[in-house]
């Protein structure tokens, strides 16, 4: 009697269990969506001035407060999506009080706080100086000015 040929184990197709892989991939997608949204909350759209001395850095390696100065015709200072009063007064204004608070909470963690200025190129220096004074009142000395990076020959045209 002829024996039926047994199908060997090696002749079947190898299939991976894809379900856990899909789960992990979707977790990663959700993570990257959420982190990109938190980063963009701090940043307003401005036309930045050009600079050749500016260096590309990763600001998120440090503890920072990003101060956006927008609307050159009617300047506004925006921090974390909220408008703040920056006008120079006797004592602390809203911006300097906020910076003092952020500095205190950063110091508790043993870190240093930087202020990153993102000002529209047509903003008057008066507003920038007011923001600098508020940072000085909060005794924050690290001060970064955000610019677009440009080639030297383009700037001197």
């Amino acid at each position: 009697m002829a024996r039926k040929k047994r199908r060997g184990v090696g002749t079947g197709a190898v299939s991976m269990n894809m379900t856990p892989m899909i789960d992990i991939v979707f977790q990663l997608i959700i993570f990257f969506i959420l982190t990109s949204q938190f980063q963009q909350l701090e940043i307003e759209q401005v036309v930045l001035p050009m600079s050749i001395a500016a260096e590309p850095k990763d600001p998120f390696q440090y503890r920072n407060v990003i101060i956006n100065v927008v609307k050159p015709d009617n300047p506004e200072v925006i921090v974390m999506g909220q408008r703040m009063d920056y006008r120079v007064i006797e004592g602390d204004n809203e911006l300097s009080a906020y910076l003092k608070e952020r500095k205190a909470s950063t110091l508790e963690g043993g870190e240093k706080l930087n202020v990153i200025l993102r000002a529209d190129e047509m903003i008057c220096y008066e507003v920038v100086a007011s923001v600098m004074l508020a940072a000085g009142r909060a005794e924050i000395q690290g001060w970064w000015i955000t610019t677009d990076i440009e080639e030297p020959e383009d700037l001197l045209d």
Binding site: I22, F32, A53, E55, Y125, E126, Q141, G142, L156
Partner: protein, 150 residues
């Protein structure tokens, strides 16, 4: 002769996973790149003066410093008029300012010689940044901004 009933096995649904994996990895790469879209930006790093304490707000008079004053031209509140050390006027010519600063450096001034950028309150932010650039290009490292005081 009884026929054996054939048991019909339920059809196995196997959606094609390979295209789904491809699309998902494309999405991951897309969202990883989004935080880097500000890659064309850079930062000028400076240190603010200490404004606390008994000397806070007082003007620091240093007759040796290089002073770059950024004025507003008449009838043009978006332009700039550059005045170096109260006597050299460059208009809006930042190339001329750079040449003058390089000339001062060539006379032997050290890199940490103080440079004060003193804009008028109405001067636009981009001119202040450009004046800072010129001082850095001339290899000066000790650059301050004038801040008004009461």
């Amino acid at each position: 002769m009884a026929k054996h009933e054939r048991r019909e096995q339920p059809a196995k649904l196997q959606p094609p996973m390979a295209p789904m994996i491809d699309v998902v990895f494309q999405l991951i790469i897309f969202f990883m790149l989004i935080p880097n879209q500000q890659a064309g930006e850079g930062y000028l790093t400076t240190n603010l003066p200490n404004t606390s304490g008994p000397v806070a707000g007082k003007p620091q008079i240093d007759v040796q410093r290089i002073k770059i004053e950024l004025e507003l031209p008449d009838n043009d509140n978006k332009g700039v008029n550059i005045v170096l050390n109260d006597n050299q006027v460059f208009g809006s010519n930042f190339g001329g300012l750079l040449a003058a600063l390089q000339g001062l450096k060539a006379r032997g001034l050290p890199a940490d010689h103080p440079v004060l950028i003193s804009p008028w309150m109405g001067t636009r932010h981009k001119w202040v940044v450009r004046a800072f650039d010129m001082a850095v290009m001339a290899r000066f490292t000790n650059i301050h901004f004038g801040v008004p005081y009461d």
